[in-house]
């Protein structure tokens, strides 16, 4: 990840250290109020989500269960600063298997939305979101791409989507 991050945040991912006085006990409610977040309190911490997670397979420190525990505990700043929040690949394996029927990706998305609203978007996502807002695509289509498409027998795509910016403003 290329998100700009403080050394504190790095520390939070490695060794969470916290002061009981700093806990935000309303954080779980804040997440629970978002669509799909309502079942967060049902987690009995069995680790089924982690055990099937493809991201955890390559990044052993990533744990959806740990994120849920951190939210329930009220570690608001630590969760919102964490890089791990942005690693979920939305494969929904955890949700499919969760014995407590918790919508784990929705909970992570809720936390992401709270982070984004506070301006804590990682740099690469900022670039992506700027691109989508401006041109309606993740990357620009150029003449070069269209030439390749024509060669493959595919229709050309519009290179400029002037309406997008207007739509996004609304």
């Amino acid at each position: 990840m290329t998100a700009e991050k403080s050394s504190d945040a790095q520390a939070a991912d490695d060794e969470p250290e916290f002061n009981v006085a700093d806990l935000d006990l309303g954080f779980a409610e804040e997440v629970a109020a978002k669509p799909g977040g309502e079942y967060i309190r049902r987690c009995y911490s069995c680790g089924m989500c982690v055990a099937g997670c493809p991201v955890a397979e390559v990044e052993p420190r990533y744990s959806p269960r740990r994120l849920i525990r951190m939210i329930l505990l009220g570690l608001r700043a630590e969760v919102l600063q964490s890089d791990f929040l942005w690693l979920c690949c939305n494969c929904y394996t955890c949700m499919e298997r969760c014995p407590q029927a918790i919508r784990i990706p929705d909970i992570i998305r809720a936390a992401k939305n709270i982070a984004a609203a506070e301006g804590r978007l990682p740099a690469n996502l900022k670039t992506v979101s700027a691109s989508v807002t401006k041109i309606g695509r993740l990357y620009e289509i150029e003449e070069f791409d269209n030439k390749k498409r024509v060669k493959a027998g595919l229709p050309e795509l519009q290179t400029k989507l002037e309406d997008v910016e207007r739509l996004m403003r609304k």
């Binding site: 069995c46 982690v50 099937g52 744990s63 029927a101």
Partner: protein
């Protein structure tokens, strides 16, 4: 509305219930209000009306003041209506010339404003005093109790209930679907936490059933139809043909040896398919009755009609009966104990665990057979290729505590898993991993057993296994089953390669529980198990009088609990037999002469108490079945059904007086 004959002499009593009522209702004000009402000759309050001195007040006043009616304002009639009716009766008055007003649950407990709550109490008691004037003396009906009992299911719960009743000299019909009794317990190897051999403690009880002259044992049979009511049930039992004469067969196995099939080649039901049997077979050596059965689906005689029938020839007692037919027996019993048991969860419903996909993934029940000395491998825990496993993973909570399958905790799987950990370790010397979410060892000696397993070196990992796969990502995973699990206590994901996986499968209601429920008119809880009448104070009775529950058909439980419940059910049955009759509450309905025979009421009755009298063409009610729910009385288009204690003039008076000051 007014009373033509003048108000009857009424006694009114209001209870403080300690502070439960008195804190919110001005008891004294209500008492004074009652004093002024027509007919009231006694009005008094008392700290605890349900206590002996409280009841004594009523008894004395009935005699002294020649009371004709009694009203008590206290808690819910569910709690103490019977208490006060008893007091009224002891005072010499018909117990139904009494009415109870609930000013606790329906007033004091649900209101905070004292003035308002007091006003509500005044309205309610006024209505009751007015209503009770219209009460008529009623008599409880007495019905005799047939002393015979039907027990459905011959597992340990049913067996124990049958033996208890037999000990008391009572006749029992024990009906079992399988060719032998014994149920699930007969399949277990050892029992936790004492590790005594299941067969050693069960088979003497099974033999005792066989030897008892009071127990009529019908195996390979199913209850088909039940009519009637407590004390007088009529039951039809379908006895499937086993093509062997039960009276003469002694289980010598000559027929099995002689069978035209030289090798056993059909999956044995008792051994869960892990062993083969012949078309003529004995489920297991200690089966009761010790009688073989012939499976017509695999027997050559039935399949082709061209078998030489060497079994028949081999039988010295001429017990093989290919012409045996199904028989439907009709019996009469007074009470019924339901002990139909459970089924284990089918782990194929959780594809991530690879049951049915990987041959070395077993259920806990299958492992019970493998570790059993008389099981398919003679007590050796072996992989499908015949090798001894070096490492074994036991997964808890498979089909338990899971919103996707069964939500409940099956209560015994933790202990089963611990027991199997011990047995597998003992039999193979393998490294045993136990994957749990929460270790639930809540019985006597259970926690100590868990402690013993920790000392024995079972590797405990707190985490639910995500998946069982055979993808190898490291040399040590080659040819192994890999368990992916988060060690939630250490906080990281582990890949654990093992040779053998044991799924500790949960308990669930039998697939045909709904059919049994309908046949008996009982209820089931959300989880599908049969519902007890009260979760704490009536855990054995059902909502149908005379029908009791025993064992896992009511919910997952261990052997001691199933045995205890079997005995408890037998105690209920014996109590009723001892009494010899039942008294039926007289809050029943009566069909009036102007019934037009429209039959509207008949399908509405939840207790099947109403039928059409073919001669008079009018509805008739079986008072022994009527529970006084009032559905028919409300539905009758011509108002031709009345209900005792809920007659029109009683209810009208009550409503009128309740609303008199609104």
């Amino acid at each position: 509305m007014g009373l033509a004959k003048g108000s009857p002499r009424t006694g009114f009593y209001i209870c403080h219930c300690g502070t439960n009522i008195a804190d919110t209702v001005d008891v004294d004000a209500v008492r004074r209000h009652a004093e002024e009402l027509p007919g009231v000759v006694v009005s008094c309050d008392y700290k605890y009306m349900c206590s002996d001195p409280g009841q004594e007040l009523i008894i004395q006043d009935i005699k002294e003041h020649r009371l004709e009616r009694v009203v008590v304002a206290a808690c819910s009639p569910l709690l103490h209506e019977a208490t006060f009716r008893g007091a009224v009766e002891r005072g010499g008055l018909n117990p139904f010339l009494f009415h109870m007003v609930n000013i606790r649950e329906q007033d004091a407990w649900v209101h905070e404003d004292r003035a308002q709550a007091t006003r509500k109490a005044r309205d309610l008691i006024r209505a009751a005093i007015r209503r009770v004037a219209y009460h008529r003396p009623l008599e409880r009906m007495r019905v005799g109790v047939n002393p015979n009992t039907l027990i459905i299911g011959g597992g340990i719960a049913g067996i124990n209930a049958a033996l208890n009743l037999s000990m008391a000299g009572k006749r029992v019909y024990l009906v079992e679907r399988e060719p032998t009794i014994g149920g699930h317990m007969a399949k277990y190897d050892k029992t936790f936490p004492t590790l005594d051999c299941a067969a050693c403690i069960l088979t003497p009880k099974m033999s005792a059933v066989r030897d008892s002259r009071n127990i009529v044992l019908w195996t390979y049979s199913e209850v088909e139809k039940i009519d009637g009511y407590i004390g007088n049930f009529r039951v039809q039992v379908r006895r499937k043909p086993r093509y062997v004469d039960e009276e003469t067969c002694v289980g010598c196995m000559q027929c099995v040896d002689a069978c035209i099939y030289k090798d056993a080649r059909f999956p044995s039901e008792f051994e869960l398919g892990l062993k083969k049997r012949k078309p003529v077979y004995m489920p297991f050596p200690q089966a009761v009755p010790p009688v073989v059965a012939i499976d017509p689906k695999t027997c050559l005689h039935f399949k082709t009609g061209k078998c030489k029938e060497p079994c028949k020839e081999a039988c010295a007692r001429d017990s093989i009966r290919f012409d045996q037919r199904e028989v439907v027996e009709e019996i009469e019993v007074g009470q019924i104990i339901v002990a139909t048991g459970f089924q284990t969860f089918d782990p194929a419903r959780l594809p991530q665990y690879g049951y049915g996909e990987f041959p070395n993934v077993y259920t806990s029940l299958e492992i019970e057979r493998l570790v059993n000395a008389s099981g398919p491998t003679g007590g050796q825990v072996l992989l499908r290729n015949g090798q001894v496993p070096q490492s074994v993973g036991i997964l808890h909570c498979v089909g338990s505590r899971d919103e996707n399958t069964n939500r409940w905790c099956s209560t015994v799987c933790c202990m089963t898993a611990l027991k199997l950990a011990h047995l597998v370790k003992e039999h193979t010397g393998a490294t045993v991993y136990s994957f749990y979410i929460d270790m639930r060892c809540t019985g006597k000696g259970y926690e100590e057993f868990y402690d013993r397993m920790m000392r024995e070196g079972v590797q405990f990992v707190r985490g639910r296994v995500g998946e069982v796969r055979d993808w190898e990502m490291a040399p040590e995973e080659e040819g192994k089953l890999v368990l992916r699990v988060e060690d939630t206590l250490a906080g990281f994901v582990r890949r654990i390669p093992v040779d053998l996986v044991i799924l500790a499968v949960g308990m669930e209601p039998r697939a045909d529980a709904e059919a049994v429920q309908r046949m008996l008119h009982i209820s089931r809880s959300n989880d599908g198990f049969f519902l007890e009448r009260h979760p704490k104070l009536a855990p054995v009775e059902t909502t149908t009088d005379g029908v009791y529950l025993a064992g896992c058909c009511q919910g997952p439980k261990d052997i001691p609990s199933a045995v205890a419940q079997g005995s408890a059910a037998a105690a209920h049955v014996l109590a009723m037999i001892s009494k010899g009759h039942i008294e039926l509450e007289p809050n029943t309905v009566a069909v009036l002469d102007d019934c037009s025979g429209c039959k509207t009421c008949i399908p509405l009755c939840p207790y099947h108490a109403l039928t059409l009298n073919e001669e008079s063409k009018k509805a008739q009610v079986n008072l022994a079945l009527c529970k006084g729910c009032g559905t028919c009385a409300a539905a009758c288009p011509s108002g031709s059904i009345t209900q005792n204690l809920f007659e029109d003039e009683q209810i009208d008076a009550e409503i009128e007086e309740t609303l008199a000051h609104v």
